[in-house]
């Protein structure tokens, strides 16, 4: 049986404790945190410690910034690596599993003008391998994992499919770097999402869920039983973390997710 998590911003309530109360009632097993830049996540440590003392389960953090470790600009890249290291350390301090980041988001798309990025594929690869190695070594030292998330072609031009992430991770060669898959991006990029999951099975470290239209699972047309069946067959026993927009009444929408996922998983 899968465990489910919900990103904190989707849950009603003014504090993590209130959000947790709602999440538990809805059937979630955990809250996925969001990590803003400028060391905001580190600065939340007292709040997070209190929540943890009150029983809130927070195994993962998903980066919530506008620049990433694959940025074109070296300064932004350096800052993104520093932020991610800090987020990995904080989630380790909370006894969590790891932090998720894409290579970039909203920086460039080969499908939109001007089509040709300012950096070559070889240079992209060099930057990604360097960043993943530095972050992976930090994660290993902290006893947690960095989850590399492939995004769809309109949001990132470097890592779109699971096999691309897998190739980078195998090259880096660190167990502390794994793929953080996302059902929505896979729906756009993978020929057969279920087969794609099986093909990289041992490298999957985390899973985020939203439907074909980015809304909560159940609101679109993804073949959830096939996708979840493949994750189960892959031996994945981590969290399914809802990272989505909401359609319909937002509270009802968030509440509907765990039951929907459990039913679809059979």
């Amino acid at each position: 049986m899968f465990k489910t998590a919900c990103q904190e911003q989707l849950l009603p309530g003014d504090s993590l404790q209130q959000k947790w109360e709602f999440a538990r009632e809805a059937g979630y097993d955990a809250i996925e945190l969001r990590g803003k830049g400028d060391f905001h996540f580190r600065d939340r440590l007292p709040e997070l410690r209190r929540a943890q003392a009150d029983g809130v389960v927070m195994p993962t953090v998903c980066v919530d910034m506008l620049h990433f470790f694959g940025a074109f600009d070296p300064d932004l890249r350096r800052d993104a690596v520093a932020q991610m290291k800090s987020q990995l350390s904080i989630i380790a301090e909370l006894g969590g599993l790891g932090a998720q980041t894409p290579a970039s988001y909203g920086m460039f798309s080969r499908r939109l003008p001007p089509f040709e990025p300012p950096r070559s594929e070889e240079e992209d690869r060099e930057v990604l391998l360097k960043g993943l190695t530095e972050l992976g070594e930090h994660a290993r030292a902290e006893g947690v994992t960095l989850f590399l998330e492939p995004l769809n072609r309109y949001e990132d031009h470097m890592v779109n499919r699971l096999e691309q992430a897998a190739e980078l991770i195998r090259t880096v060669g660190l167990d502390s770097v794994r793929i953080g898959i996302d059902s929505y991006h896979m729906n756009i990029e993978e020929t057969d999402p279920a087969a794609a999951v099986l093909a990289v099975a041992p490298l999957i470290g985390h899973a985020q869920v939203s439907d074909s239209n980015r809304f909560q699972p159940g609101a679109g047309h993804l073949d959830w039983p096939a996708w979840l069946g493949a994750l189960d067959a892959a031996g994945y026993d981590g969290y399914l973390a809802a990272e989505c927009r909401l359609t319909g009444d937002p509270v009802d929408a968030v509440r509907s997710v765990p039951a929907f996922l459990h039913r679809a998983a059979g």
Binding site: T191, D192, A194, A195, L198, D223, P225, A226, G229, A230, D232, A233, G235, G266
Partner: protein, 456 residues
């Protein structure tokens, strides 16, 4: 001591773990053999879509991914001919012609079959396989009725399945007795069963240089049909093709009424009645047809002395003496007379099939000189026939035998890596591995109702 030890050896936790591992392994086979719109029986030996394979695969796929199970059947029925026939192979146009023989350029369905309503844009074979499809469609619907209704699955499937059954009932009633005939040994599914030997021996083989087998590239020749028999298969198919796949016009050198084929027709006709009702059509004609065909099955093919159903050769008008698992499959027919059902269970448990003492259900009489435990359908035990016999045993209340067969099928599937078939005495896997219907039917047998009962 044994009685004390047994519960410890079979602790529920361990069994659950084993079942979960088997379920995951079976899911990996089915997800890997999925090609986007349907499932290949095997990535190596069988690179296209097979008719009865797809039906069995859909039954298991429904336990994993109901929408894919629906797509599986929709894709197959999408290649249906206008005369209603569902071809035994639907060719994948992106696979090289020499990957499988007989290939599309042998069958030439879109040309030779045009008058019989073969699709113009999809290449298929011209013969058929047992009609498991309505039975499968109903099981697929029941696995997720909400998804089925949302997609209009039954409403779209019903006219096609009804046309398929009309084709069999009208064009294939070559004996005029209310049963469907098969006109090629590949049609009943048990391709090289000794039951066909005598009828096949009357067929002039096609010259060996006129065809090239592809099956031996991936399988041991000792496990597969002989070259001489292959030449006869080719001749029968070529004659049918050269008569435009027109059943009335073809001088069938091979025409038999097979008990398994007709039992599946009847079970599917019952399912078709349920589908008709759910799709807003009249179920009564299907119930009537099922009852008539059941009476015909018993009257024409039941041998009370031997306690088994026998194929009838329409050329000689005689019953064929050999005992094959096909003769036990009518156990799945709802409403079979109880005396017949009891006798069938006794035959299954007797020396000819050894149910409970050998692995699964041998495809042919263990005591016969023709029995060969390694050669395809001349003795090996297959998972689809075991699944059918299991269903029949449950239907007739033989639960202990059904439970044992279920356990054995799951164990053999696990042990052999989802082999195509097993040697009945040793249980060793034969043929190819990661075979789709073996994985699919294991998934179905693993499924339990919310009350914890095994699926029926």
């Amino acid at each position: 001591m044994t009685a004390v030890l047994e519960p410890a050896l079979r602790s529920p936790g361990r069994e659950e773990d084993q079942d979960a591992a088997l379920r995951r392994a079976a899911a990996r086979v089915l997800l890997s053999n999925w090609t986007g719109a349907a499932t290949v029986p095997s990535r190596t030996l069988y690179p296209h879509q097979w008719s009865w394979d797809s039906a069995f695969i859909a039954i298991g796929l429904a336990r994993l991914a109901p929408r894919r199970a629906q797509r599986e059947l929709e894709t197959l029925l999408g290649a249906q001919w206008r005369d209603g026939r569902v071809p035994h192979i639907v060719f994948n146009p992106s696979v090289p012609l020499d990957a499988y023989f007989p290939s599309p350029d042998f069958w030439r369905s879109s040309g030779a079959g045009a008058a019989s309503g073969a699709p113009a844009d999809i290449e298929t074979s011209g013969i058929v396989q047992p009609p498991v499809h309505a039975l499968a469609a109903w099981q697929v619907h029941l696995a997720d009725p909400a998804e089925s209704r949302r997609r209009g699955f039954l409403r779209r499937m019903y006219p096609r399945l009804a046309a398929w059954h009309r084709y069999l009932a009208a064009s294939r009633d070559l004996g005029g007795g209310g049963l469907a005939a098969v006109v090629h040994p590949w049609e009943p599914g048990l391709d090289n069963s000794p039951v066909w030997d005598a009828a096949l021996a009357r067929v002039e083989p096609a010259p060996p240089e006129s065809f090239r087998r592809a099956d031996l590239d991936h399988s041991s020749a000792a496990d597969r049909p002989t070259d001489l028999d292959y030449g006869r298969y080719v001749r029968l198919a070529a004659d049918y093709r050269d008569h435009g796949y027109d059943d009335a016009r073809t001088p069938h050198a091979f025409a038999l009424e097979d008990p398994c084929f007709n039992a599946l027709f009847i079970a599917s006709e019952h399912a078709l009645a349920e589908i008709a009702a759910a799709a807003g059509a009249d179920p009564a004609p299907h119930r009537r047809k099922a009852a008539e065909a059941t009476a015909a099955l018993v009257e024409r093919l039941w041998d009370p002395a031997a306690g088994i159903f026998l194929a009838r050769d329409l050329t000689t008008g005689e019953a064929v003496g050999g005992h094959s698992v096909a003769g036990l499959v009518p156990l799945i027919v709802p409403g079979l007379p109880e005396t017949v059902a009891r006798s069938l269970v006794a035959t299954a448990q007797g020396e000819r099939f050894g149910l409970g003492r050998v692995h699964l259900v041998p495809s042919y009489d263990l005591t016969s000189p023709e029995y060969d435990g390694n050669r395809y359908w001349r003795g090996p035990s297959w998972f689809n026939t075991a699944w059918l016999v299991h269903r029949g045993l449950r239907q007739h209340g033989a639960d202990p035998a059904a439970d044992a067969l279920r356990e054995q099928a799951l164990d053999d599937a696990r042990r052999t890596g989802f082999a195509e078939y097993v040697e009945p005495h040793s249980g060793q896997g034969r043929g190819i591995r990661r075979f789709s219907w073996t994985a699919a039917l294991a998934l179905d047998l693993l499924h339990r109702t919310p009350q914890g009962e095994p699926a029926r």
